[in-house]
Assembly symmetry: C2
Homo-oligomer: 234 residues x 2
């Protein structure tokens, strides 16, 4: 397999003088990403190794570690997820109508995009990886905490926000599952804007509507051995 | 591997006179199910074969076909999903409060149950199978159509119901994904009744509340080549 037709290596032109920590070898990085993409798709997340990916890319394994902070980070990178969620938050905030509808529309349009050539960046691949490997699930959770929730929340430690974000996530991931994995009609054929109108009010309520957060039982008891989570009433 | 300690075979006692189409060999059926469960867990849905399952169970492959209508049906059977959803519908209808909350509570309590010994009947296994095999996804869709939606809908062909059922499904499967696959707090630790209060209003609206079902664009055009789905306004 040669990806050098797509990603010309930077070994052909005369090497430039090293410029310190950031050598600017964008092509090498792209080569590694392309190799990782094939490795994850062919071997599965659990079986793919950084050494094997380096071998595929024709680079020293140390270079993989130079560019990526481990296999989990590389996986998230290969998925092609957005890096800056503040942009998306601002976009959703600026939407003329319901913020919930704007978020649903944005979410579906993102995953509707055809996977880039040679890239397993579809929702299906994502779910498959997360299902088949605890490490992939953990790295995706870390991605959510570090790059998504910390950027979009006004107060990331607000206990009520913890509930709200998980409910928002549950509705979005469920939509993705019906549309891209089970491929159930009418959710497969519906336009993102249409689904957004159906589901927008749900997200709006999860974002800022009233949540019934009274204790579970009259005496407020919970399952033993689990931390008790109280949520502020609005 | 011997499952005969759990499921005594019916070959030990003197064979009874054959009674026609239903020989009443519940033990043989259980043996096949136990073998299928191990096969799906060890080999994955795609790799598991009816012949191999028959071999594991120590029965003639024809017997597997006698009891189960193909691999997909066997898979659904192994998942241990409920067979009669009218009961669940009636239960939800009789619930004193919100029907949506009753459904969420029922859904989570069902999947919260510990997987039966030696059975991969968890939500995680289900998602894994559906993700890794188009055939498993198709058989689950068939299960939904034949055994769930046809039993719970007042009018299964109502085009608006097609939208409503897929939205209800999206929220439930998303909750399951957060709770059992990604294992995201606070959805992991929350009691079913608590999640039911948060999510109940969503399901209530999907069941019978107003859905914005105006056409996607001012001229009502849709994506080319896809069937146009109009939904009645309420």
């Amino acid at each position: 397999m040669s990806s050098s037709t797509e990603f010309p290596t930077d070994e052909t032109p005369a090497p430039t003088v090293p410029r310190g920590r950031r050598p600017g070898k964008a092509d090498t990085r792209a080569e590694i990403l392309a190799a990782a993409d094939v490795a994850f798709a062919e071997d599965g997340y659990a079986e793919a190794s950084l050494r094997g990916i380096a071998h595929r890319a024709g680079v020293d394994p140390a270079l993989v570690h130079h560019y990526f902070d481990g296999k989990a980070a590389l996986f998230v990178e290969v998925m092609g997820l957005p890096r800056d969620f503040r942009e998306i938050r601002d976009e959703v905030d600026r939407a003329p109508g319901s913020r919930g509808s704007a978020l649903v529309d944005r979410f579906l349009r993102y995953w509707d995009e055809e996977p880039r050539e040679g890239r397993a960046s579809s929702f299906h691949s994502f779910v498959q990886a997360v299902c088949s490997s605890d490490q992939a699930a953990d790295s995706f959770k870390q991605f959510l905490v570090d790059r998504v929730w910390s950027q979009v929340a006004r107060d990331p430690d607000d206990p009520e926000w913890l509930v709200r974000r998980s409910l928002i996530g549950s509705q979005l991931v469920g939509l993705g599952f019906q549309r891209y994995v089970l491929r159930l009609e009418p959710l497969v054929s519906a336009e993102p804007a249409e689904v957004a109108r159906w589901v927008g009010p749900t997200i709006d309520r999860y974002m800022e509507g009233p949540l019934d957060t009274a204790p579970t039982t009259p005496d407020g008891s919970r399952r033993a051995g689990r931390p008790r989570r109280r949520v502020r009433r609005r």
